[in-house]
């Protein structure tokens, strides 16, 4: 995190914040000669050391700044696709924080806002900041798969705090502005913290309602999102023009899913898995096609680099996969619908009860199979999820369901 160094911490009260804790950091043995009282204006102190110590401190608090108590609510607020609701909910949740925590948070976020104002220089945009400080400020009490899947939403919470700092810390939300009744779909969705299956549904919908071209288009967006990582920041996703504030990379799955609430509501839990599987295949097929086009020029740009490695499979495709997973961060990990794909890839999914799925199957199928073959080994993250999920299942699926409990 050397990027967020170029800010003026002097004019903030960070000193007060860190001073008592810098020695704590020193006890880690990095800077053994640390005096209790540090002069932060002394250039001996590397700013990285100071920022690291702050993060280290925040991360090692016995309870995170955003507290365990509000964690679930914050995360589920972030999952909403309704921007107003999301902001409103987070706004009011901030005022449910204990006084001290809120002060600390304000101090910190104010500072981060300042840092982000220089993002051209220091590359720390609010979303990047969210990635860094999400896990620093928020943490689930227990380390479960569900918790891992929520990491992205933690990041979104922090991102929102930064983006809307002015509004949030202007004062508590007015009563009328207090979180409106959460949109019903949020409630529905909480039972399935994993959003990909729904995201995929969206694609399915596209398949049905429009021409293939269009759906390919969509797929390509995703691929782009993933493959060319820098694009994560740029694409104000064409699919979601109505949600201007968020970058697509992080929030997409979250937002996409809710946009298909109806089908979601209708599907039985099981079928949904199947649909997810099916559609993920479709998607695989799709991703497979487009990257060739998208990445076609790639080998040309770095001619000597890649070619020699890819005998069996052209790099672009696996890459596209991974990067897609990457763009979605944990969404790849998330979908229960995705898992089966990995377990027994060549097998046709037990035909989803979902009626709509059948019509377009014949066409993409060949690709699907191939796509899957690639998928088997493709994602460590996916296999990792399985690893964790199997583990967590043993201990209690209740944890997996936690996010839904309080709705």
């Amino acid at each position: 995190m050397f990027k967020n160094l170029k800010y003026n911490w002097q004019d903030l009260n960070l000193e007060k914040l860190i001073n008592p804790h810098i020695s704590h950091y020193c006890f880690r043995g990095l800077y053994p000669k640390c005096p209790g009282d540090v002069d932060f204006h002394n250039s001996d102190w590397d700013i990285k050391t100071i920022t690291s110590s702050l993060k280290f401190y925040l991360r090692n608090l016995s309870e995170p700044v955003m507290t365990y108590r509000l964690h679930k609510e914050l995360v589920s607020a972030a999952k909403s696709d309704n921007l107003d609701y999301r902001l409103g909910a987070i706004h009011s949740l901030v005022y449910k924080l204990p006084e001290k925590n809120r002060e600390m948070l304000e101090l910190l976020i104010r500072h981060l806002v300042n840092v982000c104002e220089h993002s051209k220089e220091n590359l720390m945009t609010p979303s990047n900041m969210g990635v860094i400080f999400g896990p620093t400020l928020m943490r689930a009490q227990e380390d479960t798969v569900a918790a891992m899947m929520n990491i992205k939403f933690q990041n979104i919470v922090v991102e929102i705090l930064i983006e809307h700092f002015g509004k949030i810390y202007l004062g508590p939300p007015e009563e009328s502005a207090a979180p409106p009744v959460p949109p019903p779909r949020v409630t529905a969705r909480r039972h399935k913290p994993i959003t990909i299956s729904k995201r995929l549904l969206r694609e399915r919908t596209v398949f049905y309602t429009s021409s293939l071209d269009e759906s390919e288009d969509e797929i390509q967006h995703q691929t782009l999102n993933g493959t060319i990582t820098s694009s994560i920041e740029t694409p104000k996703p064409p699919q979601h023009p109505k949600l201007p504030i968020q970058r697509s990379g992080e929030t997409d799955p979250g937002r996409k899913s809710p946009s298909r609430p109806i089908s979601d509501g209708k599907l039985e839990p099981c079928p949904e898995v199947d649909v997810g599987k099916l559609v993920s295949r479709l998607q695989d097929g799709g991703t497979k096609i487009t990257p060739k086009a998208t990445n076609g020029p790639m080998p040309g740009s770095g001619p000597t680099k890649t070619p020699s490695f890819h005998i069996k499979r052209p790099a672009p495709r696996p890459l596209a996969h991974h990067k897609e997973g990457d763009a979605d961060s944990f969404s790849k990990v998330r979908p229960p619908g995705e898992k089966p794909t990995i377990i027994r890839p060549p097998v046709r999914p037990p035909d989803p009860p979902c009626r709509a799925a059948t019509p377009q199957k014949p066409e993409p199928k060949p690709d699907i199979v191939a796509g899957n073959a690639g998928e088997i080994t493709s994602s460590v993250v996916a296999s990792r999820t399985r690893f964790f999920e199997t583990a967590s299942r043993k201990t209690g699926s209740s944890q997996g369901r936690l996010p839904g409990d309080e709705s």
Binding site: M1, K55, G302, K305, S308, T377
Partner: protein, 199 residues
């Protein structure tokens, strides 16, 4: 678990912003970007040769900005080889590798047989160098691992880094070159041809 024995897994560790992703992307895609996007975790795959057949090289690009201890442990326990990256412009980034190295030792036990590369990235920024290569070399000796300075930006030593890492693997023969496989295929083809002729 799709635990395929012919996967060769490499995990890349290091402090935030040292260029782990840049190195990996440079190697895998041959690209470099000036922008910065903190990584949570990414995995990339390449086909390489291993013991005269092909296998998959899985490169796991980990997070440097924050710790998910469980994920880090998993990456270590599942990894076959490790790349420890610091930035030559930041002494602290070198310091931050120590706990990671210790954790590798702890989880893997006998580290000597495990390929580990200590990598000083950003060697294109030598004007602001904070870590001399001699220091890092010394550290590499105590860690019994190899050392290299790279620049993902200038594509300096990047491919070499991965090749060297694979060369360190003594338990099997892994190589970025896939010639072995080719010749095998060719042989098979020839065999088939021969049969055809006989028939």
């Amino acid at each position: 678990m799709p635990e395929q024995s012919n996967d060769y897994r490499v995990a890349v560790f290091g402090a935030g912003g040292v260029g782990k992703s840049s190195l990996v992307l440079r190697f895998v895609k041959g690209t470099f970007r000036e922008s910065y996007i903190p990584t949570v975790e990414d995995t990339y795959r390449q086909v390489i040769s291993c013991d005269k057949s092909i296998c998959t090289l899985q490169i796991t690009d980990t997070t440097g900005s924050h710790q998910f201890p469980a994920m880090q442990r998993l990456s270590i326990s599942k990894g076959h080889a490790f790349i420890l990256v610091y930035s030559i412009t930041s002494r602290q980034s070198l310091e931050e590798l120590k706990p990671i190295y210790e954790q590798i030792c702890e989880i893997k036990g006998d580290v000597e047989s495990i390929p580990i590369m200590l990598v000083g990235n950003k060697c294109d920024e030598s004007p602001s160098r904070e870590v001399q290569s001699s220091e890092a070399e010394a550290l590499a000796r105590t860690w019994k691992c190899a050392f290299m300075e790279t620049s993902a930006k200038l594509n300096h030593n990047v491919k070499e880094l991965f090749q060297e890492l694979l060369n360190l693997e003594k338990r099997r023969t892994v190589s970025l070159q896939i010639d072995g496989k080719k010749s095998k295929q060719q042989k098979r083809k020839e065999k088939l041809k021969g049969k055809c002729v006989i028939m």
